[in-house]
Symmetry: C2
Subunit: 582 residues, 2 copies
Amino acid sequence: MYRSNTCGELRASHIGSEVIISGWVHKTRDKGFVVWVDLRDRYGITQLVFDQDRTSKTLLEQARELGRETVIQVKGEVIERASKNPNMPTGYIEVLVHALNILNKSILPPFTIEDETDGGDDIRMKYRYLDIRRNPVKNNLIFRHKVTMEVRKYLSDKGFIDVETPYLIKSTPEGARDFLVPSRMNEGQFYALPQSPQTFKQLLMVGGMDKYFQIVKCFRDEDLRADRQPEFTQIDCEMAFVEQEDVLNTFEGLTKHLLKVIKGVEIESFPRMTYDEAMRLYGNDKPDIRFGMQFGELNEVAQHKDFNVFNAAELVVGIAIPGGASYTRKEIDKLIDWVKRPQVGAKGMVYVKCNEDGTYKSSVDKFYDQEDLAKWAEATQAKPGDLICVLSGKANETRTQLSALRMELAERLGLRKPDKFAPLWVVDFPLLELDEETGNYHAMHHPFTSPKPGQLELLATNPGAVKANAYDLVLNGNEIGGGSIRIHDKETQATMFKHLGFTPEEAREQFGFLMDAFQYGAPPHGGIAFGLDRLVAILGGQETIRDFIAFPKNNSGRDVMIDAPANIDEEQLKELHLKLDL
Amino acid sequence: MYRSNTCGELRASHIGSEVIISGWVHKTRDKGFVVWVDLRDRYGITQLVFDQDRTSKTLLEQARELGRETVIQVKGEVIERASKNPNMPTGYIEVLVHALNILNKSILPPFTIEDETDGGDDIRMKYRYLDIRRNPVKNNLIFRHKVTMEVRKYLSDKGFIDVETPYLIKSTPEGARDFLVPSRMNEGQFYALPQSPQTFKQLLMVGGMDKYFQIVKCFRDEDLRADRQPEFTQIDCEMAFVEQEDVLNTFEGLTKHLLKVIKGVEIESFPRMTYDEAMRLYGNDKPDIRFGMQFGELNEVAQHKDFNVFNAAELVVGIAIPGGASYTRKEIDKLIDWVKRPQVGAKGMVYVKCNEDGTYKSSVDKFYDQEDLAKWAEATQAKPGDLICVLSGKANETRTQLSALRMELAERLGLRKPDKFAPLWVVDFPLLELDEETGNYHAMHHPFTSPKPGQLELLATNPGAVKANAYDLVLNGNEIGGGSIRIHDKETQATMFKHLGFTPEEAREQFGFLMDAFQYGAPPHGGIAFGLDRLVAILGGQETIRDFIAFPKNNSGRDVMIDAPANIDEEQLKELHLKLDL
């Protein structure tokens, strides 16, 4: 037996007990006649004491030699500490060691195993197994476990059935590239790894499973952008006999439950906002509503004066920065430079200081009087002491630019608090998105999403105007989930494929199995998928999803620690040749 | 709203309520003035009644036309049934329909959606989404969900952390063939899909995670034998600071818990048996101990007489068949034919009838007297009325043959009861297995398994005799789990690799990351992996694992329903060419 107790559980009540504990040597303090060792495991740290009077000189010498991260087992008596540490759960006691067994020595670790380590990102990733010993990383992995357990319990209690769907599937185009897997059993043919279990979960609904969920790995063979993994985990759900409202209520429940159980936060307000409204008020389809700074559209009050920049613009739109009236000229110039950076792309910025005395001072005083500017303040909900920033130009571009400014300022003002949670639903997304390069439309969500009732006919005449039964769950400015009510009849699905540019033969070849299934009594159904990696990171109040993945991949797609992928060996290469018939 | 209630929940207490329910038309009975429709969903069946007097003639006509598997929504009043069906949870009531909405029609299904269907295996697999609507398949999938939820809850409550490990990894040889995945990010290089997360879970132990579990898909690119899938699911577990006894106790607890919660069975006895003992008593390393018929070795009592067949044999071994003394000569001859079939391979069989009067009658009475045969009966624990069957020859072969006979007879005698559960541990497996063709040894479990204490030295002199800290969990004659205490120091691991025929360079190339990790204070650790597919099938009392997989693959490795894998398209082929540098 390696231990009677863990390093996290001994308390005053254990004083006098003989215990065996095992763990890693975290730190050693040598005071000559006494050596203290902090022994660490997943559960905590327990102080060991070696004392030549009370134990033996041999043991003391051995303890003195213990290097950091050596794995040891000790037997000893729990005693009261002379100087107690109230900040540690085990701080009342220490273990007077009677026997020491070195289980495995350690060479010098490349960085210190401390909450604040001296190791840089690259070295910690290379030695991820050592990084995981550190509390911040270890706790993130345990946090992820807690979130997934809660998700499973909640959904299971609500009648959802966890069904495993295949990983080796037929390639179906779903936006991104599939990873391909050569098949030995079927030479010249290839499996694909799923980008999502979308079609399988729809088939489960056709099969009457009624409520399905799965926490499942999905794969995209795409260039790795910052903090994006080629394999990622999804909470995948589908329900039959539901309208959009049923899905929203169910997953609003899940979100509230998670925030309550995991974060201790009670969510009072869970607004629903149309896509159009989100774009109009925040210039963004995943608005962060932890703070205000809503857009005020100024076309009516700012156009038809002599300021031609505004007169020529499709949209004039502003936001009020709380307390911004106190900015110096230099600070404001910097803001203007910021919006003019290529990454943002605005041509310029008009501003209005809302003075505490109720007067206004703007960069366009030549064109607008106090009465005009009061209307701007009203539209942007600016209060005395605020600064109104106004951008103008093409509507979509301008909204995106102002949204970037809004987020940047919120960040600077400390309004994006990681311990505050503001979820919302964004609904009524457009069904189709115009590819500006090709002039073709493609599905904004995916080709199985149903149009809003009565809008199917619009597809032929004004495809860009068709709204979908599609919804995103947004938390603190991040899309954490997205889904839709699906098409469930063959004819509508065929119409959709046609409008997406598939020939009937292509549709048949790629989605025939689904359309066939729809002929045998497919129920109305819909669902949602959550990006677990991001959800966990946001709940954990951190920025990078990589911090919550045990073995993430680095930017080249290699495992951070195991040097994958491998060069293929000659025999395997030969086999692939044969398969490819070269 | 598609429904106020499911088809499984209406009871007498609902009588008088107005309800909305949706589901599939299961069956229609037309009695002229009245039409009854059985409406089905996942939760049950509710009887609808259409009656021209109480509802309307139009509705009655519509109901009459409803084809099987049509999806409908109805609104109506819950009323008491005239003729109640006490066998159905909803058998007390019916719904008098006021409004009918046809949600989706169905063409004629290729087989009936009934517990006992008229559809053969192939057609049911082709239309798996219809097969899943049948209770037996649906209930199997729900059963699997219950098992996995219980496993997760149990392990989580015991402090195990669910950690996701990567699916796109570096290829490491682990017995079977890896599936390979070409990488776009690293041209000419390939990921592999994991055969198990073995090395990752060991790294998690090095990382101090202490207790890990995961229910995870694994992959083997092997020829598909009967009921074997290229992708399969594993309950994967690992623990640090444990000896074999700790692991056995933990997973004995899990097994008992599952049998209790899922099957309502209390397990009293959970024996541990060495590999040698299992081979000696049952001729099998996964003995079915739901019944006796243990082997009795007869060398001492049957050799050194005048029967040369036995004298020349390495092993003479028998079993007692309960009640077998009543077999006719013809029946015994058939048994002899059975053991001589090429699949079994015995040369012949000696038998002894143990008569009720205490006398014996054998096929070798010429060589053995009553006193001799009484000793055989003692060794095989035969009682009056039993038949002793004796095989002889080379020890291993003979044991395997007698084991086959034992299982066959148990099957015939109805001793392999699907509702009886008899788990056991088989321990002390040999570390290495001799490949008779090449004369090389390879790891019986895997190269990370530790030898029994003090046996490392034997590796050089008598490798076949070295026992491992390896164990299998056997349930009803099936191996449902297997694991080992691992090597946790670099030197022992290097020695193992050497004895397995790796050069130091090969070991470094393939397992360098693990041996490197062992240098930084790897704790003693060990674990186990369960084959979830088989575990679920055995708990479910069924033979084929495919029955418990939503979308299994058929014998050619294609999805039973989606016609995968796909032919690769030209652009993708070109890319693969480039990558392979052809």
